[in-house]
C-alpha cells in the first residue's frame, strides 16, 4: 500500500507544476459555464420547470469545476503502450493495476482540485441568478464531499478498464472518443442529468457514469435527502468495487498475453 501512496504523491507534485496551463483552463471553463447558464436562464424564462433554476446553475458550476475529473487521461501511458515503454513498468515490484490506479487518481485529484477551488470561489461571487448556491445543509455538504471521493475512485476504476482495452487494440483514439462521449453525456456535462426526461433518469442515475459527479451534486443541492444518501453512497461503493475487480481481472489477463512492441 505504501508504494502506491508514494506513486500517488509523486504524481500529485508533478501535476502541481503546470500552473500556467491551469489558469488558461480555468478561464476557459468559466466561460463555458457562463454560456451554459445564459442558455438555461433563457430556457427557464420560456418555460419554467419543477426543478428550480438555482439548482441547475449550481449543477453547471460544479460540473465545470470538476471537469478535469471527468476528462483527463494519462497520455503518457497511452504512448508507453504503443512504444513498448510499458516493459519498464512491468519490471516494477508492484501490481501494474495498482500503479496506474494511483497515478490516474492523483492526476484527476490535483487537476480538478486546483481548478475547482478558484472556480467555485469565483462562481460564489457572481450576482444572484448566476452564482452557485450554498449546500442545502452542513450534513449535505459533508455527504457530497464523501460521495465525490467515491466518485473519484469510481471514475479512476472506469478509466483503468478503458486503458486495459487499449492494451489489446493498441489504437486508443476510437475507444477513447467513445468513452469520452459516454462520460460527458451520461455524467451530465453536456446537459445536466436532472434535465433528462424523467423516465430516462431512473435508469441513467444507476449507471456508473452518474456516480461520478451527478450523485455528489444531487447530495450537495439536497435533491437526494438524508434517507436516500445511504442508498446512493452504497451504490457508488458497489460500482467502485465491481469496476476495480473487473479492471484487475482484465489487467491480469492482459499481462499474461502481452506482447511488448519495439526494441
Amino acid at each position: 500500500m505504501k508504494s502506491y501512496l508514494s506513486v500517488f504523491r509523486l504524481r500529485l507534485r508533478m501535476e502541481l507544476q503546470y500552473r500556467g496551463a491551469m489558469l488558461g483552463g480555468i478561464l476557459c471553463q468559466v466561460f463555458f459555464g457562463l454560456i451554459l447558464i445564459a442558455l438555461y436562464r433563457t430556457l427557464y424564462a420560456s418555460r419554467p420547470q419543477a426543478l428550480p433554476l438555482e439548482s441547475v446553475v449550481t449543477y453547471v458550476w460544479l460540473q465545470q469545476a470538476f471537469f478535469r475529473m471527468v476528462l483527463s487521461s494519462d497520455d503518457e501511458l497511452m504512448d508507453k503502450i504503443r512504444t513498448g515503454g510499458i516493459a519498464y513498468d512491468l519490471c516494477r515490484p508492484v501490481s501494474l493495476y495498482g500503479f496506474y490506479y494511483a497515478r490516474i487518481a492523483a492526476m484527476k485529484l490535483t487537476g480538478s482540485a486546483m481548478r475547482a477551488v478558484p472556480m467555485l470561489v469565483f462562481a460564489a461571487l457572481l450576482p444572484k441568478g448566476w452564482n452557485i448556491a450554498p449546500p442545502a445543509s452542513i450534513p449535505a455538504a459533508a455527504l457530497g464531499l464523501c460521495s465525490l471521493t467515491l466518485g473519484l475512485l469510481c471514475v479512476t476504476a472506469l478509466e483503468n478498464i478503458s486503458m486495459g482495452f487499449t492494451m489489446r487494440t493498441l489504437d486508443f483514439r476510437g475507444i477513447r472518443a467513445v468513452m469520452n462521449l459516454l462520460m460527458t453525456l451520461l455524467c451530465g456535462n453536456i446537459l445536466p442529468l436532472t434535465l433528462f426526461p424523467d423516465s430516462w433518469q431512473k435508469v441513467i442515475t444507476l449507471l456508473p457514469y452518474a456516480q461520478l459527479l451527478d450523485a455528489p451534486i444531487r447530495l450537495y443541492t439536497g435533491q437526494y435527502g438524508m434517507d436516500a444518501a445511504i442508498r446512493v453512497i452504497g451504490l457508488q461503493a458497489g460500482w467502485t468495487l465491481l469496476l476495480i475487480l473487473l479492471g484487475t481481472l482484465l489487467w491480469r489477463r492482459n499481462r499474461s498475453r502481452l506482447t511488448v512492441q519495439g526494441g
Partner: protein, 266 residues
C-alpha cells in the same frame, strides 16, 4: 490556380495514407458520429423539455445547430493543418522547412493535413438543417440558397481565422494556449443557439469580436424569415463578409508573427 491544384493533389495523397488503416479509420469515424450525435441528442432533449427558446421554435433551433455543425466541421475537415497540427509543427521545428519553400506558409500548412472522419459530423449537421427547414416550413428561393452557401463559406473562413489566432500565440509562446479555445470551441457551443438569447456582453463578443452572429446567424434568421436583430433584411447578404474581414486582419497578424518566428532547433 497552381495552388489549388497543389492542394487537391496533397489532399488525395493524405486520403490514401489514411485509408491504409481501414479498421482504425472506421472506428474513429464511428466515434465521431457518436460524438456529434450526442451533441444533437442534447439539443433534442432540451427541445423535448422546454419546447421553445424565447421566440425561437424547435425547427429554428435545429436550423441554427445545423448551420454551426456544417460550418465548423467543414473547417476541421479541410483546415486540419491549422486547427489541429500547427502547434506540433512549431514545437518540432518542422515549420522551418515550410519557410524555405517557395509557397505561402498557410498554403503549405493547409496542404499538410486533412481529417476525412469529420464527414460524418457534417452529415449530422446537414440532417439537422433538413429537419429544421422542414419543421419551420422554410420557403426556399434561389436567393436563400445562395445566401446559405455564402454564409457557410464565410463561416469556414472565419473559423479558420480564429484558429489562426491560436497559431499566432503558438509562434510566440511555443506552447499552445488553451484560452483561445474559448473563441473557437466556445463559439461553436454558444453560437449553435441564436445569439439574441445571451446577455449583452456575450452577444457583443460573438457579433463584433468573433462575428459568428454576422456570418452565420443573420443569414440563418433571414432564411427562417425571423428577425435576429431589428436590422433591414438586405444586411443578411452583406454581413457574412465580416468573416472574410476578420480573416484578413488575423492573417496580417499571422504574417507578422511569422517574421518573429524563431526555430526551436534540432
Amino acid at each position: 490556380m497552381n495552388t489549388v491544384k497543389l492542394y487537391i493533389r496533397s489532399m488525395g495523397m493524405l486520403l490514401k495514407c489514411q485509408m491504409q488503416y481501414p479498421a482504425s479509420f472506421l472506428m474513429q469515424t464511428l466515434a465521431q458520429l457518436i460524438m456529434e450525435g450526442g451533441e444533437m441528442l442534447a439539443l433534442v432533449l432540451i427541445i423535448d423539455r422546454f419546447g421553445h427558446l424565447g421566440s425561437w421554435q424547435p425547427g429554428d433551433l435545429y436550423f441554427f445547430f445545423g448551420m454551426m455543425s456544417v460550418t465548423f466541421y467543414l473547417t476541421e475537415c479541410f483546415g486540419r493543418g491549422v486547427t489541429g497540427t500547427f502547434p506540433s509543427l512549431v514545437r518540432s521545428g518542422q515549420l522551418d522547412t515550410m519557410l524555405a519553400r517557395p509557397r505561402a506558409v498557410l498554403t503549405q500548412v493547409l496542404c499538410s493535413d486533412i481529417d476525412p472522419r469529420r464527414i460524418v459530423c457534417i452529415a449530422v449537421g446537414v440532417t439537422a438543417l433538413c429537419i429544421g427547414s422542414r419543421l419551420s416550413a422554410v420557403r426556399w428561393t434561389f436567393a436563400k440558397a445562395l445566401l446559405l452557401c455564402e454564409a457557410v463559406a464565410m463561416g469556414v473562413v472565419l473559423i479558420l481565422g480564429l484558429f489562426l489566432i491560436e497559431a499566432i500565440f503558438c509562434i510566440y509562446s511555443v506552447k499552445s494556449v488553451e484560452l483561445v479555445n474559448a473563441l473557437t470551441y466556445g463559439g461553436r457551443s454558444a453560437c449553435a443557439y441564436p445569439v439574441n438569447i445571451y446577455p449583452r456582453p456575450l452577444r457583443t463578443l460573438f457579433t463584433v469580436i468573433a462575428p459568428f452572429a454576422l456570418t452565420l446567424q443573420l443569414p440563418a434568421a433571414y432564411i427562417l424569415d425571423k428577425p435576429l436583430f431589428s436590422w433591414p433584411a438586405w444586411t443578411a447578404f452583406l454581413s457574412p463578409l465580416s468573416g472574410a474581414a476578420a480573416f484578413g486582419v488575423i492573417y496580417a497578424l499571422f504574417q507578422k508573427a511569422l517574421r518573429h518566428y524563431r526555430s526551436t532547433g534540432s
